[in-house]
Symmetry: D2
Subunit: 450 residues, 4 copies
């Protein structure tokens, strides 16, 4: 199901560490799977903030020359996925503005559900917007607030509905904020005398930082010379982490809310297998990379061998040209190949993480059948996606969700599989070890007003 | 004296013409001498505004792909000189913002003298700034204004002190504004059923537009489907065009306020020659390119032959590497060469347009002497620069103006010339045909509160 | 063990198919794992040959504009790994020369063992070399040969010792050549009215070509309007495919000499497990990507769960900057991360494909131990590498082969593992189903004079 | 007449000077007017030769990183004009080959008239060609020669007919060669303990080298540790410098064969004026840049003022996009603008250096007339071009030479001028001070067999 679902981004911050830009560069590199369209870093040296950014991967957007221009011990960085296209430089984060209280740089992961209302209200009051980023809304709210910067941040956050993990850098300090439902992940770690903040814990390992804990829903962490202070912007909080983080976004070696992503995905595979006692099949195949963990679990539970029936081409860059009309329709072929000798004449259980539009699944099934697979039994490691997301997952309308339109048997015919089964919501909760998640895209029960 | 003095930029606008982006591209190309650091174009198609920009020459900043993305009939464009360095993308114009009344794109030539005050006031009211461009101040003032957009513009302009030529593009219309002292030039032309606006008239020729007239000081031209409407933002106006436009910035084939730039420079050369009746010399040499007109005039008046004693290398790009330490000091050599066989053993009258720091003049004199020139009599086609400019010419402090520190004989020794003479202020007024100019950098009489 | 061993390249050819350049582009994309340093395509339109090439991945080296310039129905292409660095454009293949019989373009996979002798001999006869590519030797030999081009090719090949798969393109025809020991793979496929030739069969699937067969050792295939003619340049042939193709180079979904690469690697894992009956361990971990197949086999045979204990970062490009001194030593961290929660406190069987210098293995073991692994039992899916390769594998000296210097127990201590075992030569032959391979880097029995 | 005529290139060499690559970079920068399509430098450090090259200006083709890779005290460099298009990297000079006697790098200015014959002969003997550069012919001839390298060079040069200035770099020494008719210029200078060689003397000034003398026709200079040795490859020599060097190619501050280029061009202008005693005109205008010297001379002789009636846009780069169909035909407008206020209502004498196809002249005349010029009297500072050049000037066929087809009155009508006069051949010889030139393109008397 790769290539269909995308969260907006990953954020990384550093406080009080020499070479903050370099550490942020590495941290963003570890978060690269969360967004490949643009990257940027802002660094404060105590006096002023400088920002460098660009299109593409971290390694493309930030040259060694740009990095060298970013001196200082405090930093925030961002990697971003965007459908908006190449030209919109203004939307690349961090956003850096000069305001009454000095310079501010902000990065954001998530989506503000009441963004349109807030924008209109701010414009009514005389604000102008130079980007379409939600970060800019936060910065305007801060600027119009009263009291200390912390108080302004608290006031501003109370106005925001939806999903957010913000980092805000000033000349002197760094703030990390997590929304009151905990929809987006955010963790803090220690390294030497300083701190790091990251969307996912996998980034800490790369720079040898020691994870301290995740931010609580509604928490604002303020980093100052004295250390790390915890504040809240509201008492009305709950744990509702986005389930799609586990399903698709996060890296298998990240731990979120105490659960290892790979292990949890593996568990979904086992649960799927448990209901397939009577299925006759020869092997288990996972769609690389996000569905390999579930396939491992299915294999273990079912006793069927786990085989490399699909190969992912690692070298598909952003600039790939699909050169012939006749081959254009099969874009998936550039990225995935069936391992013909392995699947030929065999009955396959094919594990995928989710189905959005259904077209990719259909192509993968066809790929395997054309390579000679006798049967393809598709198993999806999450329930049907039936409701749009307003919290940052790129499923904006119900029309494009095929499970909102087709029943499971209809969908099975559509994708051309010999059988199709989804994880049930009960199994998902069992695998995830609780109900403390946002399952809105599966069950329509949104955690905020939408 | 090339390479020392730089105005901020050139602006170009198009209203109601198919292919507005292409015409603006050509117009900016003709204005390229006004700024080579960055270029950008914003185009409105009636519904929305898109903007593309980049570093370098127009041909580098705007690829054919970027141009193709800019569809519509109304456009504004900008070329810019900046000392700020490569990383500050936010400062490249046009500035495009989304505000209450829709999208606005603005370009600016000049300098707002009370920018700092206005910024602080706006920040106090809750504005945040994402660039250091004066255009953003205008956009904030507009957004906070009342009434129609025209009324907002009028109110905003009344707040601004200093030099400005603004173009403001909305989804539906285009506004061109010139400050009440007329410090920066701005002209309007017709082409087919539409209009063009340009910092200099030389751009009209390239695209075969017919100049209509220059904007009056304090005028706001509003272009709409019905045609061109003239409005004023103040009745308190006067003609005080920046004299440096004639001395250095403008292209010789531009006419500003009814005067051809080349012809006026030529006249300064004649006036200089008229006082040199007793000077024994063999030839006249001009520093290319800006001082060739004055040298032609001096040659004609004096009867001395005009010779190509200095050659300019046309191929010095932005990326030139000065590779050896021993040659680094003579950077001027990369750009200018003495024509040894021509000047050897000769007594030269050397024409230059102005002297800022004195170091370039010193190098040119040394270049000619090392090439064998027997005598070098330096003649400057403008009076000594003694006062900083607050209206967009990049002379920010009195310290760097050598004429503020040294007398003419001292300066003559400093540059190593055999004699040195400047145009007098009286001669300048004679050459320019009036006193209706800003001569503040020569005489310290600023036209606004500073 | 990724990043240590590299073969020279992959070749792909097309005969008598419209859009030959596009098909070659896709074919090279599928062969991208064989070389990422440069890529090139030469196309013949019946009259003349044009060539376009560049540094980097296929998608970087060949822009859509370059592709559009390559019109014609016959083509050869190349992807290349090279340590020679960025500046040596001349060595990027195809090599295109103009000679007596017209233009010739050649691409080459392998290494000519007697290259130095042949070069000296040719230079003695007046040849000059503009590259250091072995392809140029072939082209010189052809040019100096007699008779038809086929006869020249046959004569030339008889002079060559070592490993080679050549494609030679003329204005009218295409030749594919495989050395008499069959050291390098080369296959032919049909597509519509034309043919494709490829180093690996995985490329055929992408463009929907039907594999016909592999070339025989010593065979020269000539493609002409009439079809495909088979010729030999020698009767002295044998099957000695390089075993490292299976161990490391080839893509898991390729079949070479009738064996699927993934399945064969899986078999080596099973054989390793069979000897580990008494090993107490908790899980099997494979080094991604080349050792996952072996890990799957080990897991199946041993009954131990296959776990994702190591994660590969997919986004490490050629331009990655290792920004801090303290982190420089752990370059492997940019590419590989331990899945801490999975391995913590566990006893691991770690599968890798081979050990060259030992330093990468040592880093991976350390990575896992630092992440909390209790024990790491390293299993290598090939025998110890003890002898240099003269046939295209980048192991040029015995000194850099750690197994040539250390015994297995010493090596185990060096890499810091709790136990270490290699596949035996007997097991390898069992897994590979025969002795018809070049095992020279393991046993020193070279198949040619060296 | 700019943009129509182009010689192949400029060459620069350095012997026994630290930082040879840097000096060559500067030298090529001074020769940039001789070719802007590509540039390259090869450097020897005594042991081996490295080469770096690229497309575009010297500053674009050779980054600081590439320069830094070129260590050594001996170097050769090249700038090149080519119609062949962007993709032909192989033709960018220097050409670097490995041959029997070691490595050789060669650069070439000129054209070998019997290149085709020599190529065929060499191919017959087994040579293959990887470029279409004449340098490669020389390198093949050298490689096939006998005796010392000097003897090989002498033998090789005796085989060459046509125009050439070669520099040949070996690991240990540098050779400079000028053809026996002296068709192309080549000079030598001293700098410190070493030497420089250049197509034009203007390059010496930039790097503060002292010109020693020009090479004699038929001379081979060998630079060794002991100094500079002069040799000949033939006794059959004469002075026949290409007259177009003075007319168009060379920089005004270069001296060639003892004549300053600017001064000689000025003289042609004076001679043209002398025959225009009865012409009624208001001003003299030169086509920038190559015709300004002649215009100065005409102005001085006639007493008519020299005016800036045409302005050249300095910023037309290689990537300029001509965006609209309606403007495409007037490409000349991007480069040249009429100074409307200066020429309006005036009678102009317009000086140009030559007429090739006539289309550019026609556009310039039209430009001036559209700007209001009352009369345009075109004066050409060289005789009509009637014969193709086989020595490096890009006039390959008689058909494209309009003076071969039209009489002067017909041509006057074609270009739309009010009168047209060329310099006569007698005047040319008077201005040039002799008959020791190749005037073949004017009079058809070729200096070699063609």
């Amino acid at each position: 199901m790769q290539g269909e679902l995308h969260e907006e981004c990953g954020v990384f911050g550093v406080y009080h560490l020499p070479g903050a830009a370099n550490l942020t560069y590495l941290g963003l590199h570890a978060l690269q799977h969360r967004g490949q369209e643009s990257a940027g870093i802002a660094v404060s040296d105590g006096d002023s903030i400088r920002c460098r950014k660009g299109h593409g991967l971290v390694t493309e957007a930030l040259s060694s020359q740009k990095l060298a221009e970013l001196r200082g011990e405090n930093a925030v960085g961002h990697v971003r996925y965007s459908t908006a296209g190449g030209g919109e430089w203004e939307n690349i984060q961090p956003l850096l503005v000069r305001a009454k209280m000095g310079s501010l740089a902000a990065v954001h992961n998530g989506q503000i559900a009441n963004a349109r209302e807030l924008r209109e209200e701010l414009e009514e009051q005389g604000s102008i917007f130079s980007s379409s980023s939600d970060s800019e809304i936060l910065l305007h709210l801060i600027q119009r607030g009263r009291g200390s910067l912390l108080e302004k941040l608290q006031d501003a956050c109370r106005r925001l509905e939806g999903a957010f993990a913000f980092l805000v850098l000033t000349e002197q300090s760094l703030y990390a904020i997590r929304d009151c439902n905990g929809l987006r992940p955010l963790s803090v770690a220690r390294r030497g005398q300083g701190y790091c903040v990251s969307s996912e814990s996998c980034a800490f390992h790369l720079i040898e930082a020691e994870e301290v804990r995740e931010l609580e829903p509604g928490e604002i962490l303020k980093f100052t010379a004295g250390g790390m202070e915890s504040h809240r912007y509201t008492a009305d909080t709950r744990h509702r982490l986005c389930a799609m983080e586990y399903v698709y976004f996060a890296r298998p070696d990240s731990d979120i809310e105490g659960r290892n992503v790979h292990s949890l995905r593996r568990r979904t595979g086992r649960l799927l297998a448990r209901r397939d006692k009577d299925l006759k099949a020869d092997m288990v195949v996972g769609v690389p990379d996000s569905s390999l963990s579930a396939a491992m679990g299915y294999s273990e539970e079912s006793g069927l061998p786990f085989e490399m029936g699909l190969i992912k081409n690692r070298y598909v860059g952003r600039t790939f040209i699909q050169p012939t009309q006749e081959l254009r329709d099969s874009g998936v072929k550039m990225k995935l190949a069936a391992n013909r000798s392995v699947v030929e004449g065999k009955r396959l259980v094919l594990l995928d993480d989710s189905i959005v539009r259904g077209t990719t699944s259909r192509r993968i099934v066809r790929l395997l059948k054309e390579a000679g697979a006798r049967e393809v039994h598709l198993r999806i490691a999450s329930p049907p996606l039936r409701y749009p997301c307003f919290y940052g997952v790129d499923i904006s309308t119900q029309e494009e969700l095929i499970s909102a339109r087709l029943s499971v048997p209809e969908l099975c015919r559509f994708v051309g599989a010999d059988s199709l089964r989804f994880l049930t919501e009960q199994e998902m909760q069992e695998a995830y070890g609780g109900e403390d998640f946002c399952f809105a895209c599966f069950d329509g029960r949104y955690v905020t007003r939408v």
